[in-house]
Symmetry: C2
Subunit: 145 residues, 2 copies
DNA sequence: ACGAATTAATCAGTGCACTGAGTATTTCTC
DNA sequence: GAGAAATACTCAGTGCACTGATTAATTCGT
């Protein structure tokens, strides 16, 4: 059996896309704060005082990964994590002052970066790309939600 | 500054897409052999006796990552790695008998899986998605080749 | 032919991401 | 109200992926 053309394999392309993205992120947005970390900060701007489980649903990361990512943000003083006195199983999360400042700074940079990243496409193609990826990802997450 | 809509961020979507893919891969293709490992096997079917550097260009993985992935495949007896007697810096790689058999088996499964993964899209949309991702990834890899 | 530059691989370190097992706490059921 | 079930988190283990530093081998320039 002959070799396969990997450029027709969505998984391979997805990996390359993500890789390329995280490289550009490091150059244009931040070397310390990664894209998943930004996703967490962003979710906490929108919904403060949520627990890790809710957070993990929001950013589509699993419970263990969230714990790691949050731990790093706590270590850097960007996020505060306290046991919920009402329910001793939950960690309640919120941004610190500095976390809020940091998020604000990154928002403008990510916008700039996204423009550069998608620059090879026409505006309509950019929208198509985002829409198609979202549909496939949504459907696949649906399969084993 | 308000929170951002992550569904307009290509990096976030790319991560979700890749995640969803690797989950489905585990269910439909193989639990032991990951998608990057398959990419390596596939490259060695196409080009036997290449070194790790050439391989890393082919599958778009960096030199360190390739070393890890290849080491796992060697450990499982799917790939053979020997020092090039002509050039003592290189490791020459090739598939073992079993590696070849294993690749053959996975080729049919990946085809089936790709159909399921992309099923939520029309055929023309599937092609569009692959083409657009490839263009963005190519361009970004170009930036820092 | 000899030292310098280049090239290939490895190693240490960090971070993302998952599974499966284990712990603690709350809630549900009788 | 006590035991069972469910929930939230943590921990250990594995794999992918990168950078920067190191080591070893070849090639290039003079």
């Amino acid at each position: 059996m002959a070799a396969v053309d990997l450029s027709t394999h969505p998984g391979h392309l997805a990996r390359r896309l993500q890789q390329a993205h995280s490289l550009l992120w490091g150059a244009m947005v931040s070397e310390e704060t990664t894209s998943p970390q930004f996703a967490v900060l962003n979710a906490l701007v929108e919904k403060p005082d949520i627990d890790q489980r809710t957070l993990s649903e929001h950013v589509h990361l699993d419970r263990s990964t969230i714990a790691d990512v949050v731990a790093r943000l706590v270590r850097r003083g960007l996020v505060e994590r306290v046991r919920d006195p009402k329910d001793g199983r939950r960690n309640v999360l919120k941004l610190s002052e500095e976390g809020t400042r940091h998020h604000r700074k990154l928002v403008t940079r990510t916008a700039r970066m996204n423009r550069v990243f998608l620059a090879p496409l026409e505006e309509s193609e950019q929208e198509t790309l985002l829409r198609l990826i979202a549909r496939v990802a949504d459907a696949a997450e649906e399969l084993r939600g």
